[in-house]
Amino acid sequence: MANVELNFIVNDEPRNIIIDDRDSLADVLRNKLHLTSVKKGCEVGECGACTVLINGETFDSCIYLAIWAEGKEIRTLEGLMDEDGNISDIQQAFIDEAAVQCGFCTPGFIMSAMPILESDKEFTREEIKKHLSGNLCRCTGYENIINAIENVKKSRMNNQNI
């Protein structure tokens, strides 16, 4: 073990911190940067509650060594907030569609939805499901989660086409 320096960008902000080289990225984001939207569920890469974006791709941060994040861009749910502290369209859609029950899986689901929402491509409901297949929810039965993502995807595509 050793303490090492980590330089990376988290939610658009360059950060320079000292970490233990045995830390997972989830540990660093939660304990050092207090980004507690990153949930530790299974801690073995099965449930997706710790999903974050690393250079635009979804990763389970519980099974990603923090030392590997050197020089990379990380996004967590906290980064979706606008300058005035308002939540984003996808978070509002989760509320509107009752896609949240206990809420533990929600940040992970929303981060998994980001590549879909930020892509120029259209997605079928089946394709959306496939993109969410690494996230588990034990409360909602998934339908409302998929509805919320589908609604935001449609509205973002419509806005793009105007």
Binding site: M1, D20, V44, I63, Y64, L65, S112, H131, S133, G134
Partner: protein
């Protein structure tokens, strides 16, 4: 925090090899989706690691002048699926690795790690067997290239010696040109599951598309390590595409495989799957080649 005795981040292949030789009990970690889980559940707690995850020289897909496709072993499953060379020349491999775990696992998991941990259920392995992949292994004395059929020496064991690293996977032109393929993964769920049985077929049809000119059949979980079925392949070469040919293919495959009972599934179910999936995968491969059933 992981229970790791020490971790070294290699800066080059040579550096990684030297570190591995200097620490005889150190393990290679690539994406870590197997190793970190084993550390978490105690099987590898207190281990010493050499991380090769940062070696970008081992990432990416390219095509050589002779038409060989080179796959960097650290290329993630999702990058293989989305790669233009793979989509154009060996779509079956991109489709196979798109069935691993879920999206997050396909972003961290590497094809080299998938075959180097030696498990029979690896979704990329059967297709790499069907494609006669050649593996480049680099050690302190240089490089050697071996066929993937010589890579596995037992469950969870590959030929890599301490201080050796898998540095490239090659698919030569004669193994993809004119071939089409299909991989079928049979599992209990559509995602986040391990194959009960995996079957990969690549085939080449005669010019008039009525006969099988060449066929490669490979399985995962049909034996202790991924395997080919050479006798089954030979038995249908030059046969016309008809029901008799499919029945022969399935029946022969069932004889040639060697699955076992496990908590996931019985040997009987796996034999039945070997028979059915070989036929289904061959049918799909033939359709993709423009053959008529």
């Amino acid at each position: 925090m992981y229970d790791i005795e020490n971790i070294y981040q290699a800066t080059s292949v040579k550096d990684a090899i030297e570190q591995l030789l200097a620490k005889p009990d150190a393990l290679i970690i690539a994406g870590g989706s197997d190793i970190l889980i084993k550390i978490h559940n105690g099987k590898l707690s207190g281990c010493s690691l050499v991380s090769i995850y940062g070696l970008d020289e081992l990432r990416g897909i390219s095509i050589d002048d002779d038409g060989s496709i080179k796959i960097g072993p650290l290329t993630s499953f999702s990058h293989i699926t989305n790669d233009e060379i793979i989509k154009k020349h060996i779509p079956v491999l991109g489709e196979a690795v798109d069935q691993v775990g879920g999206p997050q696992i396909r972003n961290i998991g590497t094809i080299g790690g998938n075959i180097s941990n030696g498990v029979t259920s690896a979704d990329s392995a059967s297709t790499l067997f069907a494609l006669n992949a050649q593996l480049e292994i680099t050690g302190i004395d240089g490089k050697r290239i071996i066929p993937i059929s010589d890579y596995y020496i037992g469950p969870g064991k590959v030929v890599l010696k301490q201080g050796e690293i898998l540095t490239a996977i090659y698919i030569t032109k004669e193994n993809y040109q004119g071939f089409t393929g299909c991989y079928i993964k049979y599992a209990m769920r559509n995602a986040m599951d391990i194959a009960t049985l995996g079957c990969s077929v690549t085939c080449k049809l005669s010019e008039d598309k009525t006969k099988i000119e060449d066929v490669h059949l490979a399985y995962g979980v049909a034996g202790p390590v991924p395997m080919r079925c050479p006798e089954t392949e030979k038995s249908i070469i030059d046969m016309a595409i008809d029901d008799e040919m499919f029945e022969k293919f399935g029946a022969m495959a069932m004889e040639e495989v060697n699955p076992r009972d496990s908590w996931r599934a019985s040997k009987t179910l796996r034999l039945q799957l070997a028979k059915e999936l070989s036929k289904r995968a061959l049918k799909q491969a033939i359709i993709k080649s423009g053959g008529v059933l």
